[in-house]
Amino acid sequence: MTPEASSKPIKAIPVRHTGRWIAGTLVLLLSLAVLYSITTNPRFEWSIVGQYFFSMRVVHGLVLTLELTVISMAIGIVLGVVLAVMRLSPNPLVAGAAWFYIWFFRGTPILVQIIFWFNFTALYPVIGYGSWTLNANALITPFVAAILALGLNEAAYMTEIVRAGILSVDEGMTEAASALGMSRLLTMRRIVLPQAMRVIIPPTGNETISMLKTTSLVSVIAVTELLYSVQLIYSVNYRTIPLLLVACIWYLMVTTLLSIGQYYIERHFGRGASRSLPATPLQKVRRFLVRFSPGGVPSHE
């Protein structure tokens, strides 16, 4: 053991961060000012916000927004994986087709695509061949048009995300899998894609959050999702600001939930990538409390 004097813990006077204190005070004052204004300006009409927050029509709109987000993202992800594998195919025609798809759907505005699918029946009034036909008007409802537009557009972006993920996986993995006699598709499914997930998940989370908000665009084709629902209400009672606040708060709440979900999914696919998994926020809070509780033992760090 070392002599007692040198093994004593150091008790030094900490550096004073004057700049940090000034900046912190300014930020605090500004926040208080904004908060004061929000709470005291009567034109925010917070009582109206509360009144409509859980109203039937708003909740229905919210559910439709969630449906649109989930279905469109599912289409986008599945189609994106297929197109990404196609883009990396050794067959130039297959790779070219995937390239063309991305070029088209990424190169035209999403709002235009939404309106296009809404008017698709003008282009093909009848869908099918011979006696197997369907009335396009019955098939492509505004909801279906919205799903098609959002899902097909998303697939173009997901393709690039998945492709980047696949390319990020060390070539040695494919080589080792080949040496074990695994086929190209088996290698992709069992070895490459699971490891690509670590790279694919964070931008996909962003895409999902972005999709949640993009669904508000389909209000232009009269799909009664969250935004169009509140628009319908304020077009009658003229309480525009409080009703937009209702929509905003719902959007914020859902994106917050999605961010938390994303964190845990990332953690799941990060296994094996580092020696130990990072602590979850709950674990961090618990550790923090333990450290500052009387008699708490500081964790080793």
Binding site: G172, G181, R190, P194, G272, A273
Partner: protein, 262 residues
């Protein structure tokens, strides 16, 4: 003797005749001819860039040869012959041939999202279609054999280089290969971890596994190899028993190489 098919016993495990390989304008192999008999351990030596790793990768068709002929266990690598015509193998045929040949890489290449155990059972289950229980039994045995029974639930990132390489050897052995290829298996390891990997390889050699080993470990070549082959500039320039090769090298290039490395 006669009731056995011709591909058993009589034919060498690996037979190369004037194998050529080019990457663009760079000629990497310029006519390599070599036979490896069943149960033989052959070490390929040579400076980096001499073509020894490329030759090894040609044996399981990770690289396609441009000219010459290459057979493993009597089968042409990457092709099949019917009459005087040669047909390129289909992907699944190439896979089936590769499944018979184990390969160990310099950088281990363990599947990072799977535990050591997961790495070992992956190919037996999904390529060989062996029932999971049976694959697990074999994997437990193999991991015990390479001294990693306690670490089988660890991910590669939680293992040392030497441990990872031993898992990689177990993974290759799980396919019950008839031939093992080692591509500089200890070059990426810290010096104190080299021994544990060489020990496993040495025990494999003693059990009669046919092995082709690209290595810079002269100690291993001297102890475990039946034959040592020296490559230089895309050709084999000298071969012989370890005793003859290390004590009385004939070629000047070999002498230079040995004086640098020993």
């Amino acid at each position: 003797m006669n009731d056995r098919p011709a591909t058993q016993e009589s034919t060498p495990m690996v037979k190369a005749e004037a194998v050529h390989k080019r990457f663009g304008h760079l000629k990497v192999l310029k006519g390599v001819s070599l036979e490896v008999q069943r149960g033989e351990v052959v070490c390929l030596l040579g400076v980096s860039g001499s073509g020894k790793s490329t030759f090894l990768r040609c044996i399981n068709h990770l690289e396609k040869i441009d000219a010459g002929r290459l057979w493993v266990d009597g089968n042409m690598v990457g092709y099949k012959q019917a009459g005087d015509r040669i047909y390129e193998l289909r992907d699944h045929e190439v896979c089936a041939r590769r499944a018979e040949i184990g390969m160990v890489f310099q950088r281990f290449n363990l599947f990072g999202h799977m535990t050591a155990l997961g790495n070992v059972i992956e190919a037996p289950i999904h390529v060989r279609k062996i029932p999971r229980e049976q694959a697990l039994d074999t994997a437990h045995e193999l991991l015990k054999r390479v001294g990693l029974a306690e670490r089988m639930h660890s991910y590669p990132s939680q293992l040392s280089g030497g441990q990872q390489q031993r898992v990689a050897i177990a993974r290759a052995l799980a396919m019950q290969p008839k031939l093992m290829l080692f591509d500089e298996p200890t070059s990426a390891l810290d010096p104190e971890l080299v021994g544990e990997v060489l020990e496993v390889m040495q025990s494999l050699a003693q059990e009669g596994m046919t092995m082709v080993v690209v290595t810079h470990e002269m100690g291993f070549a001297r102890e475990a190899a039946d034959r040592v082959v020296m490559m230089d500039n895309g050709k084999i320039i000298e071969e012989g028993t370890p005793a003859a090769f290390f004590n009385h090298p004939r070629e000047e290039r070999t002498q230079q190489f040995l004086s640098k490395i020993l």
